[in-house]
Symmetry: C2
Subunit: 200 residues, 2 copies
C-alpha cells in the first residue's frame, strides 16, 4: 500500500507562515495527572497568547476524545493510539504555523517520546504539570478519583493505572504551590526564549 | 465512559480569532476521482490564499495517510474511518480560524455528509473536482489506474470501488476543460462571497 502513496509538497513554506503569524509554529505538550491543572493552564495560556496577537490553539483531552478519538477507551493500547493521533494533529498545527497547546494526561513516557519524534525537532516543548497525587485527589473536580477508589472507574491514572513522570521535561510546574498566572508566565518566558533562538 | 468526559470551553472565541486572521475559519472540501486534480488545485489554492494574507492550510490524502491514518487501508470501513478523522481535524482547523482545504477522494456520499455535519453549519464548502474517468485514467500520473486494471491494486475508486458524485456540491469544477488557475479563481470567488455573507 505504502508504495502507492505519493506525498504532495505544499508550496507554502515555514518562512512564509512565520511572516504571516510573527512566530514559528510549535507544540507545547502538557503532561500530568488528572486534576493537576493541565486544562486550566492550557486554557489560560491560549488566552494569554491570543491576547498578545499570537496564533495559538489548544487541543484538550476531553474535547478531542469526544471527536477524533471517540472510538477509543482507556486501555494502554487505546491510550497509546489516542496520544499517537494527538501527536499527529499537533504536528499538523505546528506545520500550519500555530502554537499548539496540548493538555492530556499522556501517562506513558514512550507515547510522549513518539509524539515528540513526530513533531519537527526543536518544535516540541514538554511541560510537566506536577502536583502530588494526594493534592489532585483532594481537588477531584470531576469526582473521578472518588469513583476510581470505589472501583467504579477502571484503569484510572494514579490509582489503577501508572503515570510515568518525564525524565527531562523542558519545564516543570508545581501546581500545588504556583498560581495559574505564574505557570502561564513561565511557559510564556520559555516560549519566547525558544522562538527567539529559532529565528536567529 | 462518556459520562466521565467533561468538555473544556476555550475562552478564545471565534470573533477574537476573526480579528486576528481577518476572516472566519472554514473547510473547503475537495472530492473527486484519483487524478481528477484535487491535490493540484488544493496546493495552488493554499498558495493563492496565503499569498493574499489569509491563513490557509491543506490536508492532503497522501500526507495524512502517512501520519494520522497510517493504520488504515482502503476497505469501505477504513475509508469511512479515514474520512471521519479528517472531518474531525478539519473541524479543529476551522475552529482555530483557518481556511482548511482538504483533498481526498472521499468517494462515499454518507462519509462526506458526516464530515459536513461535524463541521459547524455554513462552514463546510463541498467542491466537486469533476473529470471523466477516462480522462483521469489517461493522466494516471502515479500509474495507479494501470495497476488497478491489471488487478494489482484492489478497491481502487472508479475501477473496482464506487465513486458517488455529490448531489448538491457548492461548486463543480470540470478539470478536463478548466485550467488550475480558473479552478482556484472560482473557489476563491465562492469563498469571498461566503465569508463576506457570514460577517454581515
Amino acid at each position: 500500500m505504502s508504495e502507492n502513496i505519493f506525498p504532495t509538497r505544499t508550496n507554502v513554506d515555514a518562512e512564509q507562515r512565520i511572516r504571516r503569524t510573527g512566530h514559528p509554529g510549535c507544540v507545547i505538550w502538557l503532561t500530568g495527572l488528572s486534576a493537576s491543572g493541565k486544562s486550566t493552564i492550557a486554557t489560560a495560556l491560549e488566552q494569554y497568547l491570543c491576547d498578545r496577537g499570537k496564533m495559538a490553539y489548544m487541543l484538550d483531552g476531553d474535547n478531542v476524545r469526544g471527536g477524533l478519538c471517540s472510538d477509543l477507551g482507556f486501555s494502554p493500547e487505546h491510550r497509546r493510539e489516542n496520544i499517537r493521533r494527538i501527536g499527529e494533529i499537533a504536528k499538523l498545527f505546528a506545520d500550519a504555523g500555530l502554537i499548539c497547546i496540548t493538555a492530556f494526561i499522556s501517562p506513558y513516557r514512550s507515547d510522549r517520546e513518539l509524539a515528540h519524534s513526530t513533531v519537527s525537532p526543536g518544535k516540541f516543548l514538554e511541560v510537566y504539570v506536577n502536583a502530588p497525587l494526594q493534592v489532585c485527589e483532594q481537588r477531584d473536580p470531576k469526582g473521578l478519583y472518588a469513583k476510581a477508589r470505589a472501583g467504579k472507574l477502571k484503569e484510572f491514572t494514579g490509582v489503577s493505572a501508572p503515570y510515568e513522570p518525564p525524565l527531562k521535561a523542558d519545564l516543570e510546574l508545581h501546581t500545588d504551590t504556583m498560581s495559574v498566572a505564574e505557570c502561564v508566565a513561565q511557559i510564556s518566558a520559555m516560549l519566547e526564549r525558544v522562538l527567539t533562538e529559532k529565528r536567529h
